[in-house]
Symmetry: C2
Subunit: 422 residues, 2 copies
Amino acid sequence: MSQHRVIASYLIETPYSLAYAAEVMAGEQSTGTFVAVPGETPELKARHRAAIIHIEELDEMSEPSLPNSVPPAGEGNLIYRRGLVQLSFPIDNFGASLANLMSTVAGNLYELRELSGIRLVDIELPGSFADRYPGPQYGMEGTRKLSQVYNRPIIGTIVKPSIGLPLDEYGPLVRSLAEAGLDFIKDDELCANPPYAPFEQRVKTVMEQIERAADRTGRKLMYAFNITGDIDEMKRHHDIVVKAGGTCVMVAVNSMGLPAVAHLRQYAELPIHGHRTQWGAMTRSPLLGMGFKAYQKLCRLAGVDHLHTNGLNSKFAESNEGVVQSIKDCLTPFLGGYPIVPVLSSAQWAGSAEPTYKAVQSTDVIHLAGGGILAHPGGIAEGVSSMQQGWAAAASGVPIGDYAKTHPALQQAIQTFGKAHN
Amino acid sequence: MSQHRVIASYLIETPYSLAYAAEVMAGEQSTGTFVAVPGETPELKARHRAAIIHIEELDEMSEPSLPNSVPPAGEGNLIYRRGLVQLSFPIDNFGASLANLMSTVAGNLYELRELSGIRLVDIELPGSFADRYPGPQYGMEGTRKLSQVYNRPIIGTIVKPSIGLPLDEYGPLVRSLAEAGLDFIKDDELCANPPYAPFEQRVKTVMEQIERAADRTGRKLMYAFNITGDIDEMKRHHDIVVKAGGTCVMVAVNSMGLPAVAHLRQYAELPIHGHRTQWGAMTRSPLLGMGFKAYQKLCRLAGVDHLHTNGLNSKFAESNEGVVQSIKDCLTPFLGGYPIVPVLSSAQWAGSAEPTYKAVQSTDVIHLAGGGILAHPGGIAEGVSSMQQGWAAAASGVPIGDYAKTHPALQQAIQTFGKAHN
């Protein structure tokens, strides 16, 4: 990797040649337009212009993916060409800055009328970014130490109903979850500092119950408190969690922006649980926005320790192939490390472990289940056991049906959830 | 408007009934799922559940706009129904918080597989948001006072080449622009604190030249310095601009995130020029992301004084109808005020004034032109004059061809740019 350039890879679609479209992109995001202006010397262009380093032709389409592209004049039947384009940008143009990286590699590209599709799919960064942004402080190793969970996934849940539960009901519920052997609870992304249950009181209530449960179980449940809010508020809430003995904070990365998360990372004393709410807006149109491979690198740079990826067979629109690739992306080192923990959720249960392990060959994940734990017919503790047993079976290569013969919690989970989910 | 609820309007597309899809949306973004869980009492739902307040049927499509929606089982030929859905959310669920507003009104909706299209088109907010976020500090009135421009648009440009010009060439160029009578220059969104021209030196160089020009012209050009960067860096750079006598700072709103902009607003002593780079990713797919009507309200809440809208007949993909509506949205009061200045740019020249004024009936805009000023055959000062004359003609209802007969700068502009642009 060049020490002086950022490489960005795009999936594009254009009614022009791919080469021409790539030139437009390179010009728009660096030294300017096609029209020569005074001062735009050959030397300046050599130093500062974005370079096209690779173009790969893909399909040809008869219809544009996005509206309002303006095709070349005078052509007959239009073809919209899809391709992969790699551009490199001199780091001297903007420096190691997350916000200005985004203005450069994404920027105005999405509005170019020479393109009928444009998606940022990957980025490679020079070491100066690593010098400036320390990245995840805890990763899997630190999270395991804090939650005292080894050799298996961290099993967690979300308290339901996610909104509106009075604190005098919320506290005992958290305690029963902690006493049932759960490792982890995350706040709902909708619940941060609501007037009906102000943050400071909520932390106090929750941590009292977690400490009492820990006295009994010998292990402190990790609770990711949602500190999403204004910049100063986020700091205040982080400090409240630390003071109360909490072990994790959560932010909605896209509601905050990357610089806000990097700011949190500067003073954070706890792992940062990154929720990706609004991510669908950035990724669901296949020829627009951003792919997860690029996104998760940005989150790692900003300092996120845990990042949501969805789980297999979830209730959301993403395909299983996409989910598997996202988990693998998180498990792949970046800039020589930057370890981030993928968080699997949505319609998960004990049986989700087997296909997940087969696909990603790792237990270094946080696995969240709602109904798959809370609605287990044997109760919450059996629900938790069923999840652990599902992963034990998967990791040892024993089919869960066989493993379940000697593990009743798993057996009950299969009977209860197996039909609905498979 | 309710004092206790946020109203969000969506354009959706679904293979289900609109009523069913709206229920899924309301559930996902408030009290939870369709499955009843212990604690989700009728009282809790009455207090906290999002309400469907309006559904309007639009077209029916035979193909889905977005991939991976999962239609109801067992149906024959699928119809994808489009409609407008209005939901209201109790403010008690999340409080007056920009970040948590986004997690609520946008959030996971984009990932719902019951939807094949989902776009946030408008929001209405209770007064508690106005109490928490003071909004634009300067607006048009304050910007006019600082730049001493009255009764016509503020005419500005962007220095080209936008990247790479050494400071010893940049300074004199700014001075010649200021002495030519320009009101306003903005940094390129690609240029904030690049290693080849560090921010502090850049401000020093630019402000020296602006002050010297002001000594001669009696009027200080407003220069929007791009302070996009990390949270602390943004504050440091703001302070550098203030100390150097600058009169405007600029941020790339989407590269920073709304909370970062609101944070800047807390200490800002100058107007905030809001660039919307990356906006295309949020809006170009017609059935995804966000419409500008909603977006500009969020920017106003965060405290942006100037917001880019594109200009008519620009080089970007947006239609002229979209541009006109965006300008009108900015000129419409919000929460009883929150005045924001639309910034028109891209392929603009003197002749852009007439159709713009006809469409929006206002001169309360910042009008940026690059080539339309810098490439005027009479020189930069004539280029600036031509822009002012174009607006004078438009505002007085005189066709520019007639007005040009007694205004040679405008005449030359029409001869030079008229054919290329019309």
